[in-house]
Symmetry: C2
Subunit: 535 residues, 2 copies
């Protein structure tokens, strides 16, 4: 069964080994485990449902039990975790609907409108930016869980388009396509539990977007139920006919309606796929090399560059002490010592073309001290690509919090951004007398610049208020560093509640008010996910 | 000097040879040349300016002379041509402003607001969809000519971004970049006279978009003056932060404001560029082959597939009778006879990679009867890529009208679309007792489908009313065929006035009203290009 207060399935554990714990203890001190609230305790914090009686409840379309409401109350952000782990459930939806058709969604809108309820659409509840929290207030809140919309309705192999119910989970979507020889190729770290509709509503990006594109490129059309009516978006290979309606839906975060069906671009399963690792002596060489590689426009599927501390951390956490020690010895001989940075290079597709692209990429790294160490580290990374996120559970159990922030900037600002975000976090928790272990990677590379993805590990205080204060201090400092360094407040996680205060820095007041006007057109009474996205 | 009633510079002529004229006479009958109205006659049709006196006029920022108003009154659509050639100037702007700064634009908005004038922004006036026509009515109309915004303000070679004044013409933009070793790579057929701002406002696509991307991909940020204020859009390599403001500007066709500055993605000038021709025995084989080539994701810069009649037409117009005859003999031996279709394949970039991609593409055409005939035809096409549009002048002088329509559809609908559009045009003019010479090419290819670009050649009646009636019948029939066959009303020309009646077929009433609400937010008094884009 899925964990109610952590990541993933209860049966899956990804332990921190002794060396990793010793490493963390050296970096930031030993953690003190916290006793989590029990599920029953947390349920008891949830008040009676304020939803008025209705045939939709009688029909079983809406579940008002505290258990289901709790399981759909929050996402996976750190403050969400704090609420769940400490059992401080301040708000929860008054009911959770499980529609199975667009007609069901329209009836839910009618019901919500009639009883003055807010509507929060959700897929797999993997938001790390507070998209799902029910607002405080006297109005009832209806969560609409879309995960029964999971079928592949149509696969057009000639146009390479697949139409799915928008609530389909990543693995289910890929399984349905794989059986027919196709893939979407969208693999965010949340892949196991996130949904197609969620990816579109939050402008998600997958780990192999270099080959497959971001969800913006994959989303080709669909159907959206909005309070003002149904918005049907046909598929065209391209169009110059005015405003692209897809772009109204992308990143709308449940503010204008609920996507029920989405048509996405798919491709035949790649004949060949491989992930290789390359080490560089330092960040400057590494960043220059990856910029040249991505600007060469080679057919790669992934580039992911870790800074020195992330490289050290990954090697410390890898286990296989002996092998890592041999690797480090070899790298040292080749000039990659303390400040070394690890690059993952992925290729997919036609075998000979993929290999040619890899060869070309490796050749471009050579003048910058790149040391190709083959597939071992890359394949390890691939094996663990969706398991790493379970580390948050393991860290918590040892008294550590793990959080991340991410942004994207043009190349001249990348390195400064990395330093600014890391320093801001360290400075913020220093005021709380705590150290932060921070490390960064460039998760997605573009000719124009890169995403900058920073992880923070720090100790839990052991009580809700203190831990919330620590998180707030760190999040605020890191977010301010992002906007002050000219980055977008999110490259791949979306805005939700946590990033909303920083949105005006990039959109301007006029941009913000235009978004507001656009959403209000589809949702005149503003019942859709109020308070999210727009500050 | 630029022609006031036709395409391009007066000094450039591109004659139709005897064979081409004989070919046309056989297809649709001999044309009867029309006597064009003189510039002075047309000017005399323009009434006195209704703009009230103002210091902006005194300062010379606004020109109210009939000559300048006439030269900025219309675009290059066939009805625009009919008005100019026959001297039937029904409406013209009351003045043409030539701002040089964002401040000038803001002052022009203040002035327009104060005197109740409509504002029509224009770049090079190359619209073929009626974007620029002043509306009938009692309100004065102010044209804002943006071509003094032409400078390269900043080139960031690290991020491969260039910031230009938005009114820069294609050749000027490329010249400024070329001097620094870069290219934008955006080459619509209108390249000589169209502007960066116009490309963005109409979602333009260039001939090598397969390599460089459509303008949507190239446009990375900028500054827009709107009646509600200035919208500044920063550049990010990618963002998940809510609605993408660039998408509000793209395809807005002057309805929300005027782009003053745009930052675009540029790339180093390609080391190598080549265009090759491949012939196929028939359309079915050709279409299948190009679909497989484009879906293979090779690094090509262009794919352009002509149907049989376009292939015949291009060979007839090529001159070099002897050489073409030898070519056709060779092709016939290789199985490409009457129904043969010509494909242009372009490659650009790193020489060895470009050649490898070309080899791979050619290999994919072989099982479909593809006959590679080398670079000659391709290089000829390249030489004439911006000259072909001058053929419209030459045809007119012999009593023929040339018009085009274009759309894009997913692969399963491509062939049916081509036949439907051609048949609709033929049927429409049959009712006028005229034949139409129609031919089609797929101008832009995507994994998902293709643009379908159809040309019509037919005889002029010799008077304005009859020729307008012929055009209306043809345009309406072709446009209805497009929407009834599931295509977008424009892949690359935009909507303007001529396509506006067909827009709701793809956007739906809700989509149309959402666009209206969005534009109204930036332009509350709806003074910006009223009546265009939205029906």
């Amino acid at each position: 069964m899925r964990r109610w207060n952590g990541w993933g399935d209860e049966s899956v554990a990804f332990a921190l080994n002794e060396d990793a714990l010793a490493f963390l203890a050296r970096r930031i001190g030993a953690g003190t485990p916290v006793v989590d609230a029990a599920f029953g305790q947390a349920c008891a914090r949830i008040g009676a449902s304020r939803l008025p009686a209705h045939r939709l409840i009688d029909r079983g379309l809406i579940d008002t039990s505290p258990e289901v409401r709790l399981r759909n109350a929050l996402g996976q952000s750190l403050p969400d975790w704090l609420r769940l782990r400490y059992g401080v459930i301040e708000t929860a939806p008054d009911g959770v609907a499980y529609p199975e058709s667009a007609q069901d969604v329209r009836e839910l809108f009618d019901y919500a409108r009639a009883c003055g309820a807010s509507v929060i659409a959700q897929g797999g509840g993997t938001s790390v930016a507070g998209h799902l929290t029910a607002p405080h207030g006297v109005q009832p809140v209806l969560a609409v869980n879309m995960t029964r919309f999971r079928q592949l309705h149509f696969l057009d192999t000639e146009s390479q388009l697949a139409t799915f119910g928008a609530g389909v989970f990543g693995p289910d979507l890929e399984a349905q396509l794989r059986a027919r020889g196709y893939t979407l190729g969208h693999f965010p770290q949340s892949f196991e539990y996130s949904t197609l509709g969620g990816w579109i509503a939050t402008r998600s990006s997958g780990q192999q977007s270099l080959r497959y594109g971001r969800i913006e490129q994959l989303f080709r059309g669909g159907s959206v139920e909005t309070p003002a009516g149904t918005l049907d978006i046909p598929t065209f290979p391209a169009s110059a006919a005015g405003t692209d309606l897809r772009e109204m839906v992308l990143g709308s975060e449940g503010r204008l309606g609920i996507l029920t069906e989405a048509t996405v671009r798919v491709t035949p399963l790649p004949q060949y796929e491989a992930f290789h690792a390359v080490f560089f002596p330092d960040w400057t060489e590494a960043e220059t090399a990856v910029r040249l590689v991505v600007q060469a426009g080679l057919s790669l599927s992934m580039l992911r560059l870790s800074n020195a501390l992330e490289t050290t951390t990954m090697l410390a956490l890898a286990g296989h002490k002996k092998m890592i020690s041999l690797l480090e010895g070899y790298l040292s001989l080749r000039g990659c010592k303390d400040g070394k940075c690890m690059l993952m290079v992925g290729v997919s597709g036609h075998k000979s073309l993929a290999r040619a692209a890899l060869r070309e990429a490796l050749a471009l790294t050579l003048p910058h001290g790149g040391v190709h160490v083959g597939r071992y580290m890359g394949e390890k990374w691939k094996q663990n690509r969706f398991r790493n996120v379970y580390l948050r559970n393991a860290a918590w159990e040892h008294g550590y919090a793990i959080d991340t922030v991410e942004t994207a900037v043009d190349w001249p600002r990348v390195e400064a951004m990395m330093h600014a975000v890391e320093a801001a976090a360290v400075g913020a928790l220093a005021l709380h007398g705590e150290r932060v272990h921070t490390y960064t990677h460039l998760s997605h590379l573009y000719a124009q610049g890169a995403s900058v993805y920073t992880t923070f590990v720090y100790r839990l205080a052991g009580d809700y208020a203190s831990d919330l204060a620590r998180w707030r201090a760190l999040k605020r400092a890191a977010s301010l560093a992002i906007v002050e360094s000219g980055g977008t407040i999110s490259h791949q996680h979306g805005v939700g509640s946590d990033h909303a205060p920083y949105l005006a820095a990039e959109k301007g007041e006029l941009g913000i008010s235009a978004m507001r006007a656009l959403f209000a057109h589809f949702d005149p009474t503003q019942m859709m996910n109020p308070g999210k996205l727009l500050p």
